[in-house]
Amino acid sequence: MAETKGSGLDKNNKYDRQLRLWGDHGQSALEAARVCLINATATGTEILKNVILPGIGSFTIVDGHKVRGEDVGNNFFLLADSIGKSRAQVATELLGELNDDVTGNFVEESVETLLESNPDYFSTFSVVVAINLHEKALLQLGGVLWEKNIPLLVCRCYGFIGYLRLAVREHTIVESHPDSALEDLRLDRPFPGLQTFCDSLNMETMTKKEHGHTPWLVLLYKYVQEWKKTHDGQIPKNYKEKNMLKEMIRKGIRQNEEGVPELEENFDEAVTHVNSALVTTRIPSEVQALFDDPCCTNINSESKTFWILCRALHDFVHNEGNGDLPLRGTIPDMTSDSERYIQLQNVYREQAATDMTAIRNRVHALLQSLGRDEPVFVDPKVSHSSPCGAVSDNEIKTFCRNAAFLRLVRCRSLAEEYGTNTVNKDELNMHLESEEGDDLLFYILLRGVDRFYDEYNRYPGRDNSDVEPDIPKLKTCLTKLLHDWGLSGTVKEDYIHEMCRYGASEVHSIASYMGGVVAQEVIKILTTQFVPINNTYVYNGFLQTSTTVQL
């Protein structure tokens, strides 16, 4: 990370504010990524700007258009004197100035020509972003990338509407960073190290100071053991039982000579944590689904590292883990003297390290059985989506620590979305019949203006004088579209009017907004942190509303 080639700036300083979000490993993933943009419109260059600044490895613009006057008006990365020049070239040059550590390339060809002449062209990219593609080219490109499992982000800004669609066959996430996650404490099923440590502490013989500084985790452990004795070895299950346990804990507070309870904060903390800390340790359903996935049950020499790790995790759970995931190994802050806090911390850390070692051994055994244990040179630029030989300890560690948060995204393909028999009719119908203000109506309208384009070779309302006469035409297009889908509803007239008024214009503030949203999804995908949007996102700039649906 300390390398200073390119810009000559220390990347730790330049990227300081973002390293605090996705870490060094996230940054390395970004720096290894190759991003392709199809069509350098305002939205396209805004997206690229927002991934070039944080430092992707390289970008390539595919665009056969020449710069027109209207492009210059809304695109920051085209200049007035670039009118008539290649849009791909001008944008590449100006965007390249944003970050000397990023390499820029361009191809002055339309995506249609490129798909015709060299369909494999796109297979070297980590992610492809396509702006304003017509249906035929879009489906063709979607098919090629689907085959290679390269994520495709389709984006469009139309008047005050922003649209994003992610199409990826399979995207796996190790660090999903859930908004809320319970601590992994195992109070219901204490591991031997925890038992030994807690049992070694005798509350009766402690000094006053020690008593009041015994971590609540230990207190809770001890009172749960007490409880189990009289409850068939079960932990408190419901609200009532938990309240009874709380009462037991409160009674454990020491009293002074006059029989008044001392102020022992650790006991207060133990009571407060009964609900959140005393939970049944279980395998989350998302992780169970991964275990049941054919990719996990049938690993082979071509399997992605993620699936090999999943399989090792699965095998661990059913052997060393005694039904549990590897211990996360962290404990929350609590009132305690630092000695015992650190001891307790080590008890958890050591168990986590033991679990990690067991999983590492399983990973290596699996790799060996697949003939993949030799460290194979892997081009970091393509490692994201391809199988690889060696798996580093850090990777395994991160995987173990996030075992409960593993996620899998499988999108529906564009072919399915556009296919007459596979279109998500029910979802669309629900939005069509819902009250006014539904963002998804604009998805239907976008499909409608595409139909309009197919018929008239232009978008509705392109000139102000066209707005009124184009309304009935667009309405007819929508009727046909809905008919094809087998839906009987209609789109309200004022929506159609609004759409015609937009005249396919690209408003810069919408482009800026979507530039941020799409770039953020690109970063999620490249760093494999956070769960990306699955699969369609629509933004209504006038109402400041947005919706995510699966189409």
Binding site: D179, S180, S509, Q520, F542
Partner: protein
């Protein structure tokens, strides 16, 4: 300007956009994006003001700046960069503080709209008041990591920025910092104070020596401890001399400084036995007898590896030498300013904080983490700024099309919420009639002990720091118009050291406070009490009726809390000697954003259209999420 946009911006709106004059306050992350968006939306006349210069760590998002611009004025470089791409726009840049008297209400009145792109509460408060005074609509915004927020403020129509009380700024009691640290942050704050004591501006509130007036010590115990330390050698003498002078006299000798700070002062603390009855006592360190290095992972990056105590001591020595040289270049009476982006200054704080943490048995931290804590760094990325800027422009467009009533407060979530919404728009609330800023006749009650509270503290701590005034004038409403504080220099300075009671101020006295620049008048009613709970110096309440129950409640809380250090209960109890952490706006901003995103979804769920059952379920899930709902910093 794209011709097609005419259609989108209906009728006269395109002309309104073209003819309007916009003030952008701040040319940082949001500011850069906003400037670009304004120009490309057709705005022609823009003014931008920012006090800051460009730093390397800005370059990952503030796209109008390049590495060759580092240390130059943000507003001026931003202007030049935008003009390079769009020469036919009129942009005026001010490299200045928006709180300067040059930008008075007439300055604000020339604009159609003001767009805030700020990063601190003081400036936000000030611009809020200026826009209220000038009656100009204000679009307010902020980002923190993946989160962001935009809202619209219009006098008489909406809540102003100060209508809802903000969470208090995070502070630590002086004695926690000086005597009984229990968290890494306490050591970091102490280390920054030490930097200032040795090289920076002398601030008596940043004393780093043991505090004999710790309320935990009975008067007796404090006294005896003091006597046991009645040595008058050069080390003991620094209690009375300034740390700076003493350190200079030793030539910033690393060993002398180390042993004074980490051995002798700690021994002195140990002599205050009361403090350690319920705590782990600290362990003094001698520079020549440090625990030997346990070489762990020396291959890791320096920034993210845990330094050993020995390493810390070496870094401490090296930094002293370098900082001493730097100080010398400043000439007589010169001083250094602590800056998180200055390598040596950060090294110094990282090493000192870790040594102190080690002594007190507190977890040591990496330099990377300490930078975060010491600089109150808030993560910042291009994507969130781009999103928020887009939202700001959409609100601006609505205002210009006369649809201010359809403007919204919009919250940006990290990921779509459980109702699949990335954005949460909420209708704007009407002004709070009890707001001490935007109410027609703003009033507050200040609770103090008039015989112990000085006029200077009223000016600095109450009126400026707490109530956000820039240059207050204060007149006693006694029929004689006695002026106790004047914003004119040299008129009332001699009053600063006098007590309120010296001017006949007592329970029920009304003070007429004015800020000429902010065109802001506030009546402060004094409520006299002998002693405020929690050792506070003063308390500000909206009206007196709020005072009584609060008092009872706090007494109850006091009675039930032990006094043994280390947690929030203590922070509340010992606010006698508050220490502000600089730049904490960032952290506070982050918390506020987290809070608001969460609570608003609950509080304002009614502005959306989902069924109630679903809503309360969401609220429950959020409550269960509890404290875990913080930004991930990995």
């Amino acid at each position: 300007m794209a011709a097609t946009l005419k259609g989108v911006l209906q009728g006269s709106l395109a002309d309104n956009v073209k003819n309007s004059k916009i003030l952008v306050v701040g040319a940082g992350g949001i500011g850069c994006e906003v400037l670009k968006d304004l120009v490309l939306t057709g705005f022609k006349t823009i003014e931008v003001i920012d006090l800051d210069t460009i730093d390397v760590s800005n370059l990952n998002r503030q796209f109008l700046f390049r590495k060759e611009h580092v240390k130059k004025s943000k507003s001026q470089v931003a202007r030049e960069s935008v003009l390079k791409f769009n020469p036919d726009v009129d942009i005026k840049a001010y490299h200045d503080s928006v709180m300067s008297p040059d930008y008075d209400v007439n300055f604000f009145k020339q604009f159609t709209l003001v767009l805030n792109a700020l990063d601190n509460r003081a400036a936000r408060n000030h611009v809020n008041r200026m826009c209220l005074a000038a009656d100009i609509p204000l679009v307010e915004s902020g980002t923190a990591g993946y989160l962001g927020q935009v809202t619209v403020i219009k006098k008489g129509l909406t809540e102003c920025y100060e209508c809802q009380p903000k969470p208090p700024q995070k502070t630590f009691p002086g004695c926690t910092i000086r005597n009984t640290p229990s968290e890494p942050i306490h050591c970091v704050v102490w280390a920054k104070h030490l930097f200032n004591q040795l090289f920076g501006e002398d601030d008596p509130d940043q004393d780093v020596s043991p505090d004999t007036e710790d309320p935990e010590l009975t008067a007796e115990a404090g006294q005896s401890a003091l006597q046991s330390e009645a040595k008058t050698d050069e080390i003991g003498g620094i209690e009375r001399k300034s740390t700076r002078v003493w350190a200079m006299n030793t030539g910033y000798d690393p060993e002398k400084l180390f042993n004074k700070l980490f051995r002798d002062d700690i021994k002195y603390l140990l002599s205050m036995e009361t403090l350690w009855k319920k705590r782990r006592p600290p362990q003094p360190l001698n520079m020549t007898q440090l625990p030997s290095d346990t070489d762990g992972n020396s291959s890791a990056i320096r920034d993210q590896r845990q330094w050993s105590v020995k390493e810390c001591a070496n870094v401490f020595s090296d930094c002293l030498g370098q900082l001493k040289k730097e100080l010398a270049t400043q000439g007589d009476g010169g001083m250094l300013v602590w800056d998180k982006d200055d390598e040596t200054a950060l090294d110094f704080v990282a090493s000192v904080a870790n040594i102190r943490a080690h002594i007190f048995g507190i977890a040591m931290k990496t330099r990377f983490d300490i930078k975060s804590m010491a600089g109150n760094i808030i993560p910042a990325i291009a994507t969130t700024n781009a999103i928020i800027a887009g939202l700001i422009i959409m609100e601006a467009i609505k205002i210009l099309s006369g649809k201010i009533k359809s403007c919204k407060t919009v919250y940006l979530n990290r990921v779509p919420n459980d109702r699949n919404r990335l954005l949460v728009p909420c209708t704007l609330d009407p002004p709070n009639p009890k707001c001490y800023v935007c109410a027609p006749k703003p009033e507050v009650t200040v609770v103090v002990n008039c015989t112990r509270f000085k006029v200077g503290a009223l000016q600095d701590k109450v009126l400026k720091s707490y109530l956000g005034m820039v240059a207050p004038d204060v007149e006693i409403d006694d029929g004689k118009g006695t002026i106790i504080i004047s914003s004119e220099e040299g008129e009332t300075e001699e009053n600063n050291d006098k007590f309120l009671s010296d001017f006949g101020i007592r329970n029920g006295t009304r003070l007429k406070c004015d800020d000429f620049l902010q065109v802001y008048s506030l009546v402060v009613t004094i409520a006299h009490v002998e002693k405020l709970e929690e050792e506070k110096e003063f308390e500000v309440v909206g009206d007196l009726s709020e005072l009584q129950p609060q008092e009872e409640q706090q007494q109850a809380a006091n009675g039930s809390k032990p006094h043994n250090g280390g947690d929030k209960a203590d922070e509340k109890e010992e606010e006698d000697d508050l220490m502000l952490i600089e730049e904490e706006e960032f952290e506070e901003e982050q918390q506020r954003m987290e809070e608001e995103t969460r609570t608003t979804r609950k509080r304002k769920a009614s502005s959306e259209t989902e069924p109630t059952t679903k809503r309360s379920k969401t609220a429950e899930a959020q409550a269960a999420a509890g404290d875990n709902d913080v930004i991930e910093i990995s």
